[in-house]
């Protein structure tokens, strides 16, 4: 009876240990989502954000993008290839127009067409209040291509899907 109890306890402990390890180490999908989480965190801005925090966030945005990241949008003037510095500059310019801004991602559809490459279909929603007091709420569907470089997923292509075509 005592042996049986020990055996059951051992099995339960081993199962819970395995589960804990599996849950604590996110798979590739989790790592990809994490990059979106970072992008969301670093683009978002609270009212009265300190300049040091702004500088740190802008500097951090650069590490999420490849040396050449392609942007495809229905507005031709935005389409093109950008360097991480240019992207960080654009992000800083956009942030400066808002007193508070929040970027959130919803409905992740992630697939891995080949090793080291991830296709992410996601909804991005930007909400905020501009410095002139205007409320902004914009949602777009994005098709992103991420590549894995040195065990880190970085954005290489972002396409804004034209859901409503005028």
């Amino acid at each position: 009876m005592v042996r049986l109890r020990y055996a059951v306890t051992m099995v339960v402990m081993m199962t819970s240990g395995t589960m804990a390890i599996l849950c604590s180490s996110p798979g590739e999908e989790g790592k990809v989502k994490k990059q979106f989480h970072f992008l969301s965190e670093w683009v978002s801005k609270d009212r009265g954000e300190k300049p040091l925090t702004t500088a740190r966030k802008i500097r951090n945005i650069r590490i999420l993008f490849a040396r050449e990241c392609a942007l495809k949008a229905h507005i031709d003037s935005y389409s093109g290839t950008y360097t991480p510095d240019e992207i960080a500059g654009h992000a800083a310019a956009v942030r400066s127009r808002f007193s508070s801004v929040s970027l959130s991602f919803y409905d992740f559809n992630i697939d891995f067409p080949e090793e080291g490459s991830a296709n992410v279909n996601v909804t991005a929603r930007l909400t905020g209040i501009s410095t002139t007091g205007e409320r902004v709420d914009d949602a777009h569907e994005l098709e992103c291509l991420l590549k894995c470089a040195e065990e880190k997923w970085i954005f290489t292509q972002v396409e804004v899907i034209d859901v409503l075509r005028r």
Binding site: D107, V122, T123, R125, L142, V163, L164, R166
Partner: protein
Amino acid sequence: MFGIRRLPFVRVAFFHALRFQNVVQKVRSYLKYKMVAYKKVRRFFLPSLTLKFLLRASLVAIVAYLFFGRVCIPLRIQGSSMEPAYRNGGINFCWRPRYLFSEPQRDDVVAVRLAGRKVMLLKRIVAVEGERVEFRDGKLFVDGAEVDEPYVRYAGDWNLPSRQVEKDHVYVVGDNRSMDLEHHDFGQVSVDRIIGGPLW
């Protein structure tokens, strides 16, 4: 004489005793009723965790999850593009079976999905495939004829050249035309992206 005098007293005493007993019974039955009610309420809020109860609770949870996650999705309206019919901050449900056996028609309010169902666009269909849409000084023209839009309370002065709605597409616009043309999301959308309509 004495007997005759005593008799009413006994009768009165007996009558009072009976009445008291009656009251006691009533109080007892009332308390019993109260106890039963209390037990019922207690059983409802703090049920004993039997296997039957757990199975029933799991079944209710699964049905609710499927119903509110797949069939009748709760919505919180954010934005003023559909005012006054659907106000900013309003609550509604997206009824998905609406277009199970029918095609979206003109004037229908529909939910358009983006990458998934967590963020959707709520718009009104103003033209279906093959029709030509145009805005002249805020007035909607479909195939060259002006369309009466009783749902538009906040008119604008939009101007948009004529364009044809492609196959398997519908043209959707918000009701609030007082917004700037540039700030309003509208246009033709694939029918596949329409996942239902608001419940009311």
